[in-house]
Amino acid sequence: MKDRELKDALKAYAGTPDPFRKDAFIRSVAEKEKRKRATIPAQIFVQARYIRVYAWLTAVVIVLLPLFEASVKFAPLFKVAADVMPFLAGLGVIEAMRAEAHNMAELEQTTLLSAKSAFFARMILIGAAQFAAILAAAALFSKGEAGSMLTAGINLILPHCVTNILCFVLERTKFGRENVWSCFAVAAGVFLLKLIVETTAASFTPDNSLLLLLTAVLIVIEIVEFKKTVNTEELSWN
């Protein structure tokens, strides 16, 4: 006889208590105990365990890019980083929308921790990771020099921001919710737009304060759109 078999036999011998008596008892006692509180940090903590590794890795790759340049002196890498920004943003939204994509959001909404905060928590986590990655990348690309750091940061954040705003708007529509991968199409669109702007306005270099203002406005719009998306109700009806 193996140890496992002995254990199983002993466990089976005791069996389990009656689930309904147990239910009634725990419920009667739980009322006297402290009620659990739902908080956003608790939700963020839970969601952090369920965001897939690749979502974190994509952010790490952005930070790694400038390190490559430092060693091999491969200048166009900054352009690559700026070009992948829309896709990074799109992937982030797709990851945050996973529960919606897999039809699990309705269940999430009825749990203690979240009314609508599961998506919120996932987006905050991914957004924070990507934002931190962008800042780190900007600092590394410019080797810590303040002026070029600002330019680098703006160049990276702008496409990211525009993509996020459009994705949030898209995810509020029925089509967007049912086809989460369409965020990728948005990303491709922003990428093309970026190429067009860069080729047509190659000679025009606006000063940093103007770009900074534009970035600030876009970030405000992004936050507003994010809030709207978090508060969307499912509009499907039979």
């Binding site: 389990t16 689930p19 309904f20 239910d23 009634a24 725990i26 419920r27 739980a30 009620r35 659990k36 509180r37 739902a38 608790a42 939700q43 839970v46 365990r49 369920y50 996973r98 529960a99 897999h102 039809n103 699990m104 309705e106 269940l107 999430e108 909404q109 009825t110 749990t111 203690l112 921790l113 979240s114 009314a115 599961a118 109700e233 499912e234 509009l235 009806w237 039979n238």
Partner: protein
């Protein structure tokens, strides 16, 4: 323990899905009968606090259905639900244990118990996508029971269950109804005929009949069919 709806209405554009419904639900099994499109799902979503009514009120023991305290005692099985593709049955339950505020050790104990209760113990480590329809539905029921709900809302819970599973499920519901408010919607009369303490019949968003059905009242099925002809 009382769930009260007062002139509850939900309108989508010009369509009225739920039309001035009023009822008071107490401990026991409540069968919500109606054809597809009668507004059952809309009503249930409002009862879960995930859809806000156009007008009217819904409260449980004086608590708003959108409050944290209410969600703490609510269990819900939607008509259709999904899962992350990498989830096993156990992962799925553990995820919802976390969202329902159980710590890891308690979650483990509760998962084992629930998997046993719904007869999925042997397939706990199998990916949910390999489950049959009936197994998936049982997993959904287990998920709804995690927090030992006082209000259990089940939307078409018997869909996809085979006859044996149906019987097992009915017994489970009957037991649960002794301690909680169990609302279950269905378009199959036999699902609720013998276990429901109370029947609410819905048509085009309105209650057309409600009360407790006794044997002496004749066949509920006949009555239902007559109403829906």
């Amino acid at each position: 323990m009382e769930l009260i709806a007062d002139r509850l209405t939900k309108q989508y554009g010009s369509k009225i899905a739920v039309d001035r419904m009023s009822f008071e639900l107490k401990k026991g099994v409540i069968g919500l009968l109606g054809a597809n499109g009668a507004g059952k799902t809309t009503l249930m979503r409002m009862m879960c606090g995930i859809l806000s009514p156009t007008s009217g009120e819904l409260s449980y023991n004086g608590l708003s259905v959108t409050s944290e305290e209410y969600r703490n005692v609510l269990g819900y099985l939607p008509q259709d639900f999904g899962y992350y593709p990498e989830f096993t049955g156990k992962d799925f339950l553990m995820y919802f244990c976390a969202l329902k505020g159980l710590d890891k050790k308690a979650a483990k104990a509760r998962c084992a118990e629930l998997l046993d209760l719904v007869g999925l113990k042997d397939v706990a480590g199998v990916k949910v996508k390999k489950y049959s329809g009936g197994m998936k539905q049982r997993l959904g029921i287990a998920q709804a029971l995690i927090n030992r709900p006082e209000v259990l809302i089940l939307d078409e819970p018997t869909a996809g269950l085979d006859p044996k599973e149906r019987v097992r499920f009915r017994n489970l519901i009957e037991e649960l109804g002794k301690e909680s408010i169990v609302v279950l919607s269905t378009h199959i009369v036999s699902d609720v005929e013998h276990i429901a303490d109370r029947i609410i019949m819905m048509k085009s968003g309105q209650i057309i009949w409600q009360g407790s059905w006794k044997e002496s009242d004749g066949s509920l099925e006949d009555f239902y069919l007559k109403e829906f002809e």
